[in-house]
Amino acid sequence: MRALAAQTAAELRLTLRRGEAVLLTIAIPVGLLAFFSTVKVLPLPAGVHRPVQFLAPGVLALAVMSTAMVSLGIATGFERQYGVLKRLGATPLGRPRLLAAKTVAVLAIELLQVAVLVGVALALGWSPGPGEAPAAGAVILATAGFAGIGLTMAGALRAEVTLAGANALYLILLLIGGVVFPLGSLPTALADVARALPAAALSDTLHAALGGGRGGAGAWVALACWAVGAPALAAVTFRWE
């Protein structure tokens, strides 16, 4: 128990110490939320009149993606490259406790992100609907899916490739994930592809749960598939050194 607590605290400290991780997980989502809520340049889905109503759930989805996929993937990739994972393999910590520590650290950072983003969104006039429970469920499923994608990259690619790849994926999913641009404003074929990806599936369910747009069973199915499939792929392909 002491080892798990110490490892979790270390994971959290290391994450918060990396400036680029804080930029990616806190500053960029807050910046996007504040900027596009006050500067009315974005298309809005039908029936939504104030940008913050649409943006808040989307940016929460972005925040989850930044922590569970990008930050986790990049950090783990470098830990593998520097031999940290190999060295930990020779300690009594063990893989289950290492994975548990990383999971708790990711969830803790997400809680921090939610607290900050919800606070900013409320200050910008957001009035969320009563769907906290389904929203939390969607975030947990998406966290598993994104973490699976990040760890698949981290366990198979060189750290620099994971760094570039995860950031590129972040940008693409930011654009086609229903985060700032509604899926309805994308070309139909692209929107159909996007709906199968975890970012749009999460933003769809969050929009539905928190009352900014529509969602459906398809998004939940996509989230569940990613939540099972991506970690399974990571478990099979991960090379520890």
Binding site: A3, L14, R87, G89, P92
Partner: protein, 300 residues
């Protein structure tokens, strides 16, 4: 009963055979040094003992356990220093020691351990800003923090300055004196000669010699005189005087095939004096470890 027993170990990477049938044993309170050129199979052997590599053949036992099958049990009782890396680059030295201490039931005191490896002054410096020698000493500290019964140190002094080496050697001897079985690898002869209780010379995946430094130095070297003098002296004339074959092993390094009796040594020095030749060094009945090593690991 030996702490480490290896019999007929074979390690393969695909078609490449890294270890081709190694036997060795090591006891508690002993420093066993695996010495060999780069690529000899030292790290593959040690990493099999640490549980990282699967063996293709052979029997391996550490503290009576199988490193692959009983890995979890073994991690509590062994300390590992990898050849490089192994530490979070952004983590401070003290932070790393405290974190690793948390993994074990009865760890050493982190502050005292940092002091012992000479890192108390850089306890707050992140790993990436430590010098190469400081990084190695931190890695050594992390191998010791769990009070291991066996310590595997892979090239512990590589890239370390003179003072750092001194600290590492002192700590390694302290471990040995406390009854720990220390297995270290090096490609540096001097390091092996200084530290080892027992040296195993490995080349191309095989053990080519094993013994205490003294045993290795006398083996096969008892019946000759080695001396240094200017290159190109008249070896035939000298051989005539001494009544024994004289060969110039390398320029300026000579070997006389005779017992190193006082009379033979006196005849040699007298002949050099007559020809006004300076004597650079003289070794009787003892090879240098370097000679043993080169003789055993020479490429055809």
């Amino acid at each position: 009963m030996p702490v480490i027993e290896v019999e007929g170990l074979v390690v393969r990477y695909g078609d490449v055979v890294a270890v081709a049938g190694v036997d060795l044993t090591a006891d508690a309170g002993q420093i066993l040094t695996l010495l060999g050129p780069n690529g000899a199979g030292k790290t593959s052997t040690v990493e099999t003992l640490e549980g990282y590599r699967r063996r293709a053949a052979g029997r391996v036992s550490v503290l009576g356990l199988d490193p692959a099958a009983d890995h979890a049990a073994l991690t509590r009782r062994v300390g590992v220093m990898l050849q490089k890396g192994g530490i979070y680059p952004g983590m401070g030295a003290g932070e790393a020691v405290r974190l690793f201490a948390s993994y074990y039931d009865d760890p050493l005191d982190p502050t005292a351990l940092l002091e012992r490896v000479g890192l108390a002054g850089v306890a707050r410096t992140p790993w990436r800003r430590l010098s190469g020698g400081e990084q190695q000493r931190l890695s050594l500290a992390l191998a010791l923090v769990g009070r291991p019964q066996v310590a595997f140190l892979d090239e512990p002094t590589a890239g370390v300055d003179v003072q750092g080496r001194q600290v590492i050697r002192t700590v390694v001897r302290e471990l040995r004196d406390a009854g720990v079985c220390v297995v270290l690898t090096t490609h540096e002869l001097e390091e092996a000669e200084r530290l080892a209780d027992r040296i195993v010379i490995v080349d191309r995946g095989r053990v080519v010699a094993a013994g205490s430094p003294a045993e290795l130095l006398t083996a096969g070297g008892g019946r000759s005189i080695r001396f240094g003098a200017p290159a190109g002296i008249d070896v035939a004339a000298l051989a005539g005087r001494l009544g024994a074959a004289v060969t110039e092993v390398s320029p300026g390094d000579y070997e006389v095939a005779t017992e190193a009796t006082p009379a033979a040594v006196a005849a040699l020095t007298a002949w050099l004096a007559e020809h006004d030749l300076p004597l650079a060094d003289l070794r009787a009945g003892r090879e240098r470890l370097e000679d043993v090593f080169l003789r055993l690991t020479q490429r055809p």
